[in-house]
């Protein structure tokens, strides 16, 4: 016991000295993101830079929406209805005379919020379930994982539709539904990481030093399982935005007159012949935003977790 030090390592830092002076094992999932050159490598990854730039533009647009949007996104002038793109209205106007560009700019707030909140729900619940299930193992793990498998067996958008049908159509409920649907992936991911980490020397040492279950999970295991979670979260934000837009398109998510991109497309189908710009721009906004997060997620995966690279 002489080699065991009661002092816990910093999260994300090197394992407890109790693990000895040996370098971290090759399979240590946390090893890749601890290096100082992560940002440098990310900046050299062209796709990640492009994705990061798109994401940055969306974040800035969302933050500065009130300043940069040329018109009110909710109130329009009926005299201006269905105007084609022009110097006054760069993306034209919709059936209520509202400026589409202004609605897209304000919609970036909603889409970003949907992506972040839904992934936040998936990440926290999935991590908690996966970590506790793997750490304690036994019949509890077996039961929880069967439930996770069942949830994974449902087509995601269908499950999201069913959950929103129960909770009632609203943006908040759509975020909850998309969050629940995304949860099983995190539970599986964290479970796999925890299963491999819980037997490692530094965890055994922390246990021998008298660390409680919660502390060992939170301070020693989870920081080392972060890399795949960061990658998965970034990739999931795009998917969450797509699913939530799909729900809004079906009338189950954001309700009019909210300038949500999917909801904007919902009523646009009628004007497909008369005013194609009403259909074109909101969809383009969804695609570019999702593309940005996907590119950034792909780049992060290549940099942080090369084992997952395809």
């Amino acid at each position: 016991m002489a080699t065991v030090t009661p002092k816990a390592p910093a999260p994300g830092g090197p394992p407890n000295p109790a693990a000895g002076a040996t370098p971290p094992p090759a399979g240590d999932p946390g090893a890749a993101y601890r290096g100082p050159g992560v940002l440098r490598r990310l900046l050299r990854h062209r796709a990640a830079v492009l994705g990061g730039t798109i994401v940055l533009i969306i974040v800035l647009t969302a933050l500065l929406a009130d300043v940069i949007a040329p018109y009110d996104p909710i109130r329009g002038r009926l005299a201006d209805m269905l105007q084609p793109p022009s110097p006054e209205h760069w993306m034209g106007t919709d059936e209520q005379g509202r400026d589409i560009l202004s609605r897209i700019i304000h919609g970036s707030r909603i889409s970003l919020q949907v992506g972040l909140v839904a992934v936040g729900i998936s990440l926290t619940t999935g991590t908690l379930i996966g970590a506790v299930s793997a750490y304690f193992g036994g019949w509890f793990d077996l039961l929880v994982m069967r439930i996770i498998d069942i949830l994974l067996a449902f087509p995601s958008i269908l499950l999201a539709i069913a959950i929103t049908a129960i909770l009632g159509p609203s943006l908040t409920n759509a975020m909850i539904a998309v969050g629940i649907v995304g949860m099983p992936v995190y539970a599986r991911l964290v479970r796999a990481s925890v299963l491999s980490l819980r037997e490692q020397d530094f965890v055994q040492a922390a246990r021998a030093a008298g660390g409680g279950h919660g502390r060992i999970l939170w301070r020693h295991i989870l920081p080392n399982a972060l890399a795949p979670l960061i990658v998965q979260s970034t990739l999931s934000i795009g998917t969450a935005m797509l699913d939530a837009a799909g729900l809004s398109f079906l009338g189950l998510g954001a309700q009019p007159p909210a300038p949500e991109w999917g909801a904007m497309l919902s009523g646009a189908q009628v004007y497909i012949q008369l005013a194609p710009w009403v259909v074109t721009f909101p969809g383009l906004a969804i695609m570019v935003a999702v593309l940005g997060f996907n590119l950034l997620g792909d780049g992060l995966r290549d940099v942080l977790d090369p084992r997952l690279r395809r």
Binding site: F154, P155, I166, G251, L284, I286
Partner: protein, 316 residues
């Protein structure tokens, strides 16, 4: 799975008996119907009854049409299956071809183009793509129909609802061509995401195989490139691709909900959306059950296909 669906549907707010009888029904009438429907029984008794009904193929009665849900769903399921099969064939054929081309000419402009296309493809909202396709090919160019399974003036009198397949087998060429033309736009919209994923997986799987020794040997023997790429490499690169194709079926069946809504496709997905709006929960429950069962069945089929692709895999 049945437990999850059962509990989800019981959680939907609103009294089914009240919905069936309408707002003007008296509380006594509602109570009598609740008793008749077994809604006053404890949950486990309700579940046992539900399980028995499902095993007998009885999914209840639609609150809207008052018709048996099983019959209503079965009348629409072929439309969804036909669309999903068409989209999957399209996605598999083009996705595998794109992946092989990309791997063989890796780091070329073609490779970059295909992979950029695949990345855009997975980021595409399919309901928007459906609208854009409709805008160009139906409204502007008037090349393809915008919705439905057949032209409005055509009547379908086949034995099944597999319009394209049955008309092909019966040699009804006009119906076949019309049905196929109606399939193209929703098929492309539905195929886009799986196509992109299949192309990416095929590329990475092919790149791994192309570096193996036996490929070098095959080339050293003087075999033509196409033969090495398609007969030797692709065959061994297919296993992960087939797995992904199997997993995409769920995405396809789920995506059918959106695609069918846009293209007025009379399938199960659109039916579920309408049923949700009307809170017709027996239909929603039956529809989700049928789609999920279809997905599980396909994954079982994929497991069996493994043995055909790789004879080393054996099931005890």
């Amino acid at each position: 799975m049945l437990v999850v669906i059962f509990l989800l549907m019981r959680a939907i707010p609103g009294d089914p008996a009240r919905l069936m009888l309408g707002e003007r029904a008296s509380p006594e009438q509602v109570e009598a119907l609740r008793e008749q429907m077994g809604l006053n029984d404890p949950l486990h008794v309700q579940f046992a009854a539900f399980l028995g009904d499902v095993l007998r193929g009885d999914l209840g009665t639609s609150l809207q049409s008052r018709q048996p849900v099983t019959a209503e769903l079965m009348a629409r399921y072929p439309a969804t299956v036909e669309l999903a099969i068409f989209a999957m064939l399209l996605a598999s054929a083009l996705g595998i071809l794109a992946g092989v081309v990309s791997a063989v000419w890796r780091n070329s402009l073609l490779d970059y183009g295909v992979m950029a296309g695949a990345l855009v493809g997975v980021s595409m909202p399919i309901f928007w793509l459906g609208l854009i396709l409709m805008m160009f090919f139906s409204v502007r160019l008037q090349w393809l129909p915008a919705g439905g399974r057949l032209d409005a003036r055509m009547m379908w009198d086949g034995a099944t609802q597999f319009v394209v397949l049955e008309s092909l087998l019966r040699g009804q060429w006009t119906t076949f061509v019309t049905g196929l033309r109606h399939l193209i736009l929703p098929g492309i919209a539905l195929a886009t995401i799986p196509l992109s994923i299949i192309a990416r997986i095929t590329r990475s799987s092919m790149l791994e195989v192309l570096n193996l020794d036996y490929i070098r040997t095959a080339r050293a023997k003087g075999l033509p490139n196409w033969r090495v790429n398609f007969r030797h490499a692709l065959k061994n690169a297919l296993l992960p691709v087939v797995t992904i194709i199997g997993l995409q079926v769920g995405l396809l069946l789920g995506g059918a909900v959106l695609t069918e809504t846009i293209f007025s496709w009379p399938g199960i997905g659109r039916y579920i959306v309408v049923a949700i709006g009307a809170r017709d929960y027996p239909v929603v429950q039956g529809g989700i059950l049928l789609i999920t069962l279809g997905m599980i069945l396909v994954n079982l089929l994929v497991d069996l296909i493994y043995t055909l692709i790789d004879p080393r895999i054996r099931y005890q």
